[in-house]
């Protein structure tokens, strides 16, 4: 085999890896997805049927379990038959969504922001099926991607609603807690990559930290993907070596908790409550409780009130007030003073006294 061909093959392989890592805009995006998106029915005991499309597996990482747990919670209140399509890449999503719709499934829930366009396309072809998607941009908020929001509002069919992947309230409180818990005056945030949406999440954390301590120093590291355990651990180690003693991570695995434990510092996890994984290390978690948003949509299908529901809720942002995002259980290191102070700030956000700023400008590792 010629040398040129050899270089070409390796280059293509590496480029595929780079592009896979860059592909995600707003959601956890495993770089590879090999399983067939072919649906695998899991019957329960109700006539209402729902198919969930997951990017990874229901028991893998933290993002997909968050969505799956949300469905299980709703299922306790509203019986429905649930089926899963797991490990569905963005490229395979339209086929999986269309497949479930063609089978006459009542509701198709696609648990990733990267499925937005596919949902809009398929939903238009199946007006009698109800679709629930996710989107990281609240159209009511002026962000740097207003065109996307306008596109969504203009194009989303009437049988489609979007749940907001907008945990900014939670990130703000996490920043507040991190700054108060820090003894070194230096905290960190570990993110997969930069994007307008991701910047808003990061900046919400920074605003919260600054609200607690105006002089707090904040380090930021991007590891390139939601799943990059070696880089994640090195990023945590690097920030710990720079003096950070509380680190917030928005990644889809537990490697950050392992490294925080190794460095004997505190971490704040994301998506699901990870306190029980290591109570000595996990200060708290920013929990996205999808059941809060899912329940309204599924109930509307069940009760036949979709049209009225959709008029008001074609996009449901997450918020502390609604309970769709909140802090998880406190770890062992959380003091009573910290809990009290955080409760007070949560109450102010819930009441509207504090409005978390939506800033998608580039955040910087910074000293005040």
């Amino acid at each position: 085999m010629g040398k040129k061909v050899l270089v070409l093959i390796v280059t293509l392989g590496l480029l595929a890896t780079i592009l896979a890592g860059c592909g995600g805009g707003q959601t956890p995006t495993p770089t590879t997805s090999s399983a067939s998106p072919t649906p695998t029915p899991t019957p329960t005991s109700s006539k209402l049927t729902l198919a969930a499309i997951l990017y990874g597996h229901a028991n893998e990482g933290t993002w997909d379990p968050a969505g799956y747990q949300g469905l299980l919670t709703v299922q306790k209140a509203i019986p429905f038959e649930m089926s899963l399509s797991e490990a569905v890449s963005s490229q395979d999503a339209e086929k999986a969504i269309r497949d479930w719709a063609a089978r006459g499934t009542n509701i198709v829930f696609a648990h990733s922001d990267t499925y937005t366009d596919q949902l809009i396309t398929v939903a238009a072809n199946f007006p009698n099926i109800f679709f629930i998607g996710e989107f990281g941009i609240d159209p009511a908020v002026k962000a740097s991607e207003p065109d996307q929001a306008k596109y969504l509002k203009a194009n989303a069919p009437k049988n489609l609603v979007f749940l907001g992947d907008t945990p900014e309230d939670g990130n703000y409180v996490a920043g507040y807690a991190a700054a108060l818990a820090s003894k070194s005056g230096k905290i960190g945030i570990l993110q997969p990559f930069e994007s307008g949406t991701m910047n808003r999440y990061t900046n919400a954390f920074i605003f919260g930290a600054r609200a607690a301590k105006a002089d707090i120093e904040i380090l930021i590291v991007y590891v390139g993907d939601y799943l990059a355990p070696a880089e994640t651990r090195d990023g945590i180690k690097s920030m710990a070596q720079q003096g950070a003693d509380v680190i917030f991570t928005e990644l889809d695995d537990n490697s950050s908790i392992l490294e925080c434990a190794a460095q004997k510092i505190q971490c704040i996890a994301m998506y699901i409550d990870k306190r029980d994984l290591d109570p000595k290390t996990v200060l708290t978690s920013v929990v996205q409780d999808w059941s809060v948003q899912l329940k309204g949509a599924i109930e509307a299908v069940q009760k036949g009130t979709w049209a009225a529901f959709r008029d008001k809720n074609y996009f449901q942002p997450q918020s502390l007030a609604a309970g769709s995002v909140h802090l998880g259980a406190w770890g062992d290191a959380a003091t009573t003073e910290l809990k009290t102070a955080v409760s007070a700030i949560e109450a102010k956000i819930k009441s509207g006294e504090i409005k978390v700023p939506m800033d998608d400008s580039k955040p910087l590792s910074t000293t005040p």
Binding site: A16, T32, S33, E194, I220, V223, G224, P229, S238, N254
Partner: protein
């Protein structure tokens, strides 16, 4: 401050080195006997799952590595059978095995890996010698885990076997001129089967190590191109173990450097920094391969052997 940063970078590099070194040496062995193992990425991904399964079988990270080796050797067996016995196109086989690895990983993960997966990593040298004090300066070598030291031993063993033993001579002859080696009495098929199995097994060990020691669990996509980087390091190292070692140091170092540049607030776009290891790999490959006339590529690499 700057010195601390450099020291931290050095140890971050050494910390991640075994993943690249073990995988690259494994791939090198296969190529040394004339067979491309394009499937390293898929092999590592499948071995990562098997490593976690192995850990839970015996509650031991060593069992995880053993399972990683066995799963890798399984890939090697398929590769050897198709490429050596049936003389099929090695690139096509490799791509097929790459995708097979990704699919098998997903399948076995779903079937056998518990959702509350959490493994224990390998002991550091400090833990093995019972040292509990603070580690500074060169004493920080004690904070590296035992796999780092074993990977260095592996490098030495591979170098000695390849260049200082009769077996190594037969392996090199098989990769350079199988007809002549065959005429001299070397059993080409046995040498290739054995070497590919061991090489692919080592690639599997690297995948299992990544899962058991770094993530201490498995998630899809966790190998994240490391199999391809390891493959390219073999080319970068011009099919020589000592060069491969320096290549691994370079790529592991770039990984650590990009993270540290971010923590000190360097204003290079983060996307560029996180892509740096891949970009450097591609550039290095192009430079290395464009240096015609000095290539050490095994002459029979990728060429099916038909016994006359």
């Amino acid at each position: 401050m700057a010195l601390d940063l450099i020291v931290n970078l050095i140890f971050a590099t050494l910390n991640i080195l075994p993943i690249y070194l073990i995988a690259s040496l494994g791939g090198f062995l296969s190529q040394r006997v004339g067979v491309y193992d394009i499937s390293m990425e898929g092999n590592m991904t499948f071995a990562a799952v098997m490593g976690i399964i192995g850990f839970f079988m015996a509650d031991s990270p060593w069992m995880g590595l053993l399972m990683g080796f066995l799963s890798g050797a399984f890939f090697g067996l398929i590769l050897a059978t198709l490429a050596v016995k049936f003389n099929l196109d090695q690139i096509v086989i490799g791509f097929g095995l790459w995708f097979l690895g990704l699919g098998l990983a997903s399948f076995f993960y779903k079937l056998y890996v518990p959702s509350d997966q959490h493994t224990e990593g390998f002991p550091t040298l400090a833990q093995l010698v019972g040292y509990k004090g603070e580690l500074t300066g060169f004493a920080r070598f004690l904070e590296l885990d035992i796999i780092f030291y074993l990977s260095i031993v592996l490098l030495i063993v591979v170098s000695v076997v390849i260049y200082r033993t009769r077996l190594g001579l037969q392996m090199r002859a098989t990769g350079e001129n199988p007809s002549a080696a065959d005429a001299a009495g070397v059993n080409i098929f046995r040498i290739r089967y054995f070497t590919i199995l061991v090489g692919a097994g080592l690639v599997g060990v690297a995948g299992a190590y990544l899962a058991v020691a770094f993530l201490q669990g498995f998630t899809s996509g966790m190998v994240a191109g490391r199999g391809w980087i390891a493959f390219s390091i073999i080319i970068f190292g011009r099919w020589k173990p000592s060069n491969i070692f320096w290549g691994c140091l370079l790529f592991a170092g770039i990984n650590g450097l990009q993270v540290r540049l971010q923590t000190i607030g360097v204003t290079i776009p983060s996307d560029l920094l996180t892509m740096a290891p891949y970009i450097v790999t591609i550039i290095a490959l192009i430079i290395i391969m464009s240096r015609t006339g000095r290539s050490r590529i095994p002459s029979a690499l990728g060429i099916p052997y038909y016994r006359e």
